[in-house]
Amino acid sequence: MSNPAEQFRRSLVIAKKNIKIYYLKGPVIIFGLVFPLFLALAYIIGRNIPLEEVLPGLIGMTTFFTATSVGPSIVPWETRSKTLERLLCCPIALWTIIFGDMVSSFLFGLVISVIPLLYVLTLNIELLNFIVLLFSLIIANFCFSALSVLLSAYPPTDIPATSQMLSSLVKFPLVFISGVFISVEQLPEWGRIIASFSPLTYFTDLTRQLILEKGYYPLALDLVMIVIFAVIFSLAAIKLHEKTLTKRLS
C-alpha cells in the first residue's frame, strides 16, 4: 500500500478527479485559455515580423500560462469545500495528493501547448530537433505545473481567487524577464542575471535554439536547468504543503 508504485497509481486517481472537477472552473478557463490566447494575439498581431520569429516566445508563454492555470487553485478549493480533510483520511501520502494535482495541471498545459507546436511542423525543422522540442515541452510543462502547485501552498488560503491572484503576481514578472518578448542576449547584464533565475528563460532559449538556431545558453544546459527547477519545485511543493496543511483544517 505504501509502496511508491501503488501510491503513484492513487495519485493518478486524484489527477482524474481534478480533471473532472477543476478544468471547467472559471479561473482555470480565464487564466489557462482566454488569457494566453489574447496575450498571444496581442503578441502576433500588428508586429511586422514573421510568425516564425515570434514562435519560440509564443510557445514559451503558452506553455507557461496553461501549465500554471490549474495548480494554484486546487488545494484552496478543496480547503474551502471541505473535501481536503476527506481526502487526507484516505490511505495516501501527502505527496500522492500533491503529485496528482501536478499531473492534472501538467496535462492541461500539455494539451494546449501542443497547439502552437503543431505549427512548428509546417516549418522547415529537422525531425530530431522536433523530437527534442516535444520532449522538452513535456518536461517544461511538468516544471511549470510543479511551480503552480508550489504557489498554492502559501499562504494557506481557502479562497481560490486569492491564490490565483498571488500566483499571477509571480507569473507575470517571470514572463517579462524570461526572454519571451525580448531574447536573453538583448537584455542588459543585470537583466540576464535575473533571467537566469527563471525556469521559463531556459525553455524559451531552448525553443529558440531548436526553431531558429540562435540560443544564448548551450542546449544541454537549458535542458538540465529545466529538470533541476522541476525537481526543486516538486520537492518544495511537498515540503511547504506539509507545513501549511494543519492550518487548512478548520
Binding site: M1, Q7, S81, E85, C89, P91
Partner: protein, 312 residues
C-alpha cells in the same frame, strides 16, 4: 490481537492550548467506543491524530497494530472515517464519489462496483446515484459520507459527531447502520456530545474534558459510579418543614422541586422507610414517591465539574 485501537500518553498542543493532554485508552475489537465531551474537549483533535491528519506532540497510537506515526498509510488502509467537517465532492455524483474513494483505497474494480451498489441501496441513495451531490440535502450528504467511509470494508470506523444537525429520521437510520456494521464484528470509534447517543450506541464510553479523560466505563457502570446522584422525589398532602427531613443522616441534600421534595441519597431504601415513618408521625399522606436513577447526563456533569475544581 485483542485491541483495535491503542492510545498511550497522547498529547497535542496548539500554541498555549493543550487540546489533548496525555490520554490513554484502548478499544477492543468489535466494540463501539464512545468519546463523549463538551465543545472544545479535544474529541476532533484525538480523531485527527488517530486518522493520521495531525501529528501528536507526544505519545503513541496504533490501529490494528499499525503505529499511526510510523505506518500511517497501513493504519489508514484499515479504517473508514466520517470527519466532523467534511464534504463529498459536490461536482461529482454520489456514484462517482464512492468510486473515487474506493480507488484511493485500492479496492479492485469488481469489488468496488459491488460495494458501491450495495451501500447506495442500503442507504436509500441508489435512485439518486447519478445526480450531482450539489443538490443533496444535508441528511443525504451525511448518509453518502457514511457510505464513503464504508466503501473499503474497514475494520475500524471513526465517526466524529455523525448525527449532529440531522433530523430524527436520518439520525435513526444512521444509528441503525452503525449498529448493524458493528454486529459484523467491526469496531466503531464515535465522538459525540449527545448523551442519549452515547448511551444508546456505545459499549463503553470515555468522558473527555479539557483534553483529559475523566472516566472510561460502560454506560451502566458510569451511572453506578455516581450513586450519590440518585434521588427520591416525594409529594405529601400538606406543607412540611424541609429542615426536619434533611436532618436524617442518610440524606445528603434535600430541596424543593416544584411542590415535591427532592432528597439525594446513596441509600434509597433507608430513606423511603424514614419518609414513611415521618409521614405517620406528622399525620401526613404520601401522594407519590419515586426513586430516580442518575442519568448519564448527571454523571457527565458531575465528572466534568469534579475535574474543573481539581487543581491543575
Amino acid at each position: 490481537m485483542e485491541s483495535a485501537i491503542t492510545v498511550q500518553n497522547l498529547t497535542k498542543h496548539f500554541g498555549d492550548v493543550t487540546a489533548v493532554d496525555h490520554i490513554n485508552f484502548s478499544v477492543k475489537k468489535g466494540e463501539i467506543f464512545g468519546f463523549l465531551g463538551p465543545n472544545g474537549a479535544g474529541k476532533t483533535t484525538t480523531i485527527r491524530i488517530l486518522t493520521g491528519l495531525l501529528k501528536p506532540d507526544g505519545g503513541t497510537a496504533s490501529i490494528i497494530g499499525y503505529d499511526v506515526l510510523r505506518n500511517p498509510i497501513e493504519a489508514k488502509q484499515c479504517i473508514g472515517v466520517v470527519p466532523e467537517v467534511s464534504n463529498a465532492y459536490i461536482d461529482l455524483s454520489a456514484w462517482e464519489n464512492l468510486i473515487l474513494i474506493g480507488r484511493l483505497y485500492g479496492v479492485s474494480s469488481h469489488k468496488l462496483k459491488e460495494n458501491t451498489t450495495k451501500l447506495l441501496k442500503d442507504f436509500g441513495l441508489y435512485e439518486v446515484k447519478d445526480k450531482l451531490v450539489r443538490g443533496f440535502s444535508k441528511g443525504m450528504k451525511q448518509k453518502l459520507l457514511l457510505c464513503m467511509a464504508l466503501v473499503n470494508d474497514p475494520e475500524v470506523l471513526f465517526l466524529d459527531e455523525p448525527t449532529s444537525g440531522l433530523d430524527v429520521e436520518s439520525t435513526r437510520l444512521l444509528r441503525e447502520k452503525i449498529t448493524q456494521y458493528n454486529r459484523d464484528g467491526k469496531t466503531v470509534f464515535l465522538s459525540t456530545h449527545n448523551m442519549e447517543e452515547a448511551n444508546q450506541l456505545c459499549h463503553r464510553i470515555a468522558i473527555i474534558n479539557h483534553g483529559k479523560i475523566a472516566a472510561i466505563d460502560t454506560p451502566e457502570n458510569l451511572r453506578a459510579q455516581s450513586m450519590e446522584l440518585q434521588y427520591i422525589e416525594v409529594l405529601f398532602d400538606k406543607q412540611v418543614n424541609i429542615q426536619e427531613i434533611s436532618k436524617n443522616p442518610n440524606i445528603s441534600k434535600a430541596s424543593f422541586a416544584g411542590n415535591r421534595i427532592r432528597v439525594y441519597t446513596a441509600n434509597p431504601s433507608a430513606v423511603i422507610e424514614f419518609l414513611v415513618e415521618f409521614a405517620k408521625q406528622k399525620r401526613l399522606h404520601i401522594l407519590s414517591l419515586n426513586t430516580m436513577m442518575p442519568s448519564l447526563e448527571d454523571v457527565f456533569i458531575k465528572l466534568i465539574k469534579e475535574k474543573e475544581v481539581m487543581p491543575v
